[in-house]
């Protein structure tokens, strides 16, 4: 079978909408277009019915009650609502929040802003495998701690945090526990009861749903979590998030969750097989390649590999018929290598050359094989061009040379 180019292997960034999700959404644009808050007529009732069905579909995927699902515009909003909502609601109880360094910017930047407003935030380091140390977490807790926010799985390296243990520690100390589960949802089983999660962020477009819609799980009992709303208005979503609901988007999110619920077990086996095929083929054909983060605690569809002596941007230029992301300096506007890889202790030279491969529902074995060949070929070609590779092969320790580093 001929493959279509470019090959999309950036499924951490976003995913295409599943045709079944799109089919479920379409009637809600033209036929069932009502405002779910309209209580006086059938248009509203039908829209509300669709919204409630979606709530149930989402709740089922994470073992929550439908009443605990709040719809938002996406996970960035969910993260902000959770963190800021808790911080403002429980300010009298304490002003200390614990998070960790490889969180998504939606969490980190919210925390930074809260710091400016007088809150205290502890950013836990991660170990070489990308996971936090639970003793660090225990030590960071103070009588003023009101929230622990640690992501379920990382968006760059796909490493899964010890969520169950974090949940236990939070319960023990009576601290709320929020997790950004955007990357984990639909990939691995997530259970808010078993894991003691009080708040959890979800995004539709990472699980083959539409962009612009997400949800926040907010626990209702043991303990009951209250939030200060961040958008004022009609008091929708139990007063936590005002604004007319995005009914077609919500229907899409619900359907996407239902598909994950039904197909995740099988799909994760298939994606893991493809991921392992890709990893093995690349690692066996190229020397000096390294996997970033724990292989054991990792989402099944993902791997992040550093190619020593090859620069990330020229790498992406060489594989321009493959859509992947790089932790490279030059691909981002900041010219900084990935802060996630830096936090793992990956040297800047290797952080410049890392590629994130995220395999998705619609990728095939042929595509994976094509990607492997292109990657191997490009790395080999660029290493031919690389003075660093040449020196390393001559036995020069490149890291120990007296480089003149410009400090602009």
């Amino acid at each position: 079978m001929a493959i279509q180019l470019p090959v999309y292997l950036d499924n951490h960034a976003t995913t295409p909408v599943d045709p079944r999700v799109l089919d479920a959404m379409l009637p809600y644009f033209r036929e069932v277009f009502g405002n779910s808050a309209s209580r006086n007529h059938e248009f509203g009732w039908k829209a509300e019915e669709a919204v409630e069905k979606s709530r149930a579909q989402i709740a089922k995927l994470i073992n929550a009650s439908p009443k605990e699902i709040i719809f938002t515009s996406g996970a960035t909003e969910s993260d902000g609502l959770a963190i800021r909502g808790i911080a403002e609601m429980y300010r009298e109880k304490g002003n200390h929040i614990i998070t960790q360094v490889t969180e998504h910017k939606a969490v980190l930047d919210t925390c930074k802003r809260l710091e400016k407003e007088g809150y205290e935030v502890t950013y836990l380091p991660v170990q070489k495998d990308g996971r936090i140390n639970l003793d660090d977490l225990r030590r960071a807790i103070t009588p003023k701690t009101i929230l622990i926010t640690i992501m379920y799985a990382n968006n760059e390296i796909a490493v899964v945090q010890p969520i169950n243990e974090i949940g236990k520690i939070a319960k023990e100390k009576g601290i709320f526990f929020h997790t950004d589960a955007v990357q984990a949802i639909g990939k691995i089983p997530v259970d808010v009861q078993k894991d003691g999660i009080d708040l959890l962020s979800i995004s539709a477009h990472k699980i083959y749903g539409p962009k612009g819609v997400g949800a926040l799980y907010v626990r209702r009992r043991n303990p009951r979590v209250q939030l200060v709303a961040q958008i004022d208005g009609g008091g929708h979503e139990r007063g936590m998030r005002s604004g007319t609901l995005n009914v077609p988007g919500i229907v899409g999110l619900g359907k996407a969750c239902e598909l994950c619920m039904n197909e995740m077990a099988e799909e994760s086996v298939r994606l893991k097989a493809l991921r392992d095929r890709l990893t093995k083929a690349i690692m066996s054909q190229l020397d000096e390649t390294f996997i970033n983060g724990s292989m054991e605690h990792r989402l099944p569809h993902s791997v992040n590999i550093s190619f020593a002596y090859v620069e990330g941007e020229s790498m992406l230029m060489g594989i321009n018929d493959i859509a992947v992301s790089s932790g490279s300096a030059c691909t981002s506007a900041t010219l900084e290598p990935s802060y996630v890889l830096k936090a793992l202790g990956v040297g800047e030279d290797l952080a410049h050359t890392s590629i994130r491969f995220g395999i998705g529902r619609f990728n095939t074995e042929e595509e994976v094989d094509y990607v492997v060949n292109r990657v191997v070929e490009t790395v080999a070609r660029l290493r031919e061009l690389s003075p660093l590779y040449e020196m390393a092969k001559e036995g020069v320790d490149v890291a120990k040379l007296n480089w003149k580093v410009e400090t602009a």
């Binding site: 090859v310 620069e311 020229s314 061009l385 690389s386 480089w403 003149k404």
Partner: protein
């Protein structure tokens, strides 16, 4: 990042890739940049000792497409030039030729530095006096 056609052309077909014998008295080697910054260029030139004409030039570059193109172009330009002519090549000439965007100007600066470093190395080997300002630091210590 959009690249100019010339950058893409050099990236796909880099000229004069390789290495010369760095122990040869007539070969000057320049190694500039740093891995942490994402760019390292090695430029070597073989100079005719009597005419001072650059007869051969080779490069290897670790860096983005613009860095590879800048060094590839530099090897093309220096070949057949005298040492003094090669030293007059300016990074702005490279920027213009390759239509480098502002964020890539450092690539052309590095290429100019590589030419200077290589020819400084050659001059030292030949026992020719090197003016201090014309000798950019090289990674070789």
């Amino acid at each position: 990042m959009a690249y100019s056609d010339k950058v893409i052309e050099h990236y796909n077909n880099p000229r004069n890739v390789g290495s010369l014998d760095k122990n040869d008295k007539n070969v000057g080697t320049g190694l500039v940049g740093a891995p942490e910054c994402g760019d390292v260029m090695k430029l070597q030139m073989k100079v005719n000792p009597s005419t001072h004409i650059i007869e051969e030039a080779k490069f290897k570059t670790f860096g983005c497409g613009s860095a590879i193109a800048s060094s590839s172009l530099a090897t093309e330009w220096v070949k057949g030039k005298t040492v003094e002519e090669a030293l007059s090549i300016k990074n702005t000439d490279i920027v213009r030729e390759l239509s480098l965007p502002p964020v890539k100007i450092h690539c052309s600066v590095l290429a100019e530095d590589a030419i200077k470093a290589a020819l400084t190395d050659w001059k030292k080997k030949q026992g020719i006096e090197v003016k201090p300002e014309a000798a950019p630091a090289s990674a070789h210590s």
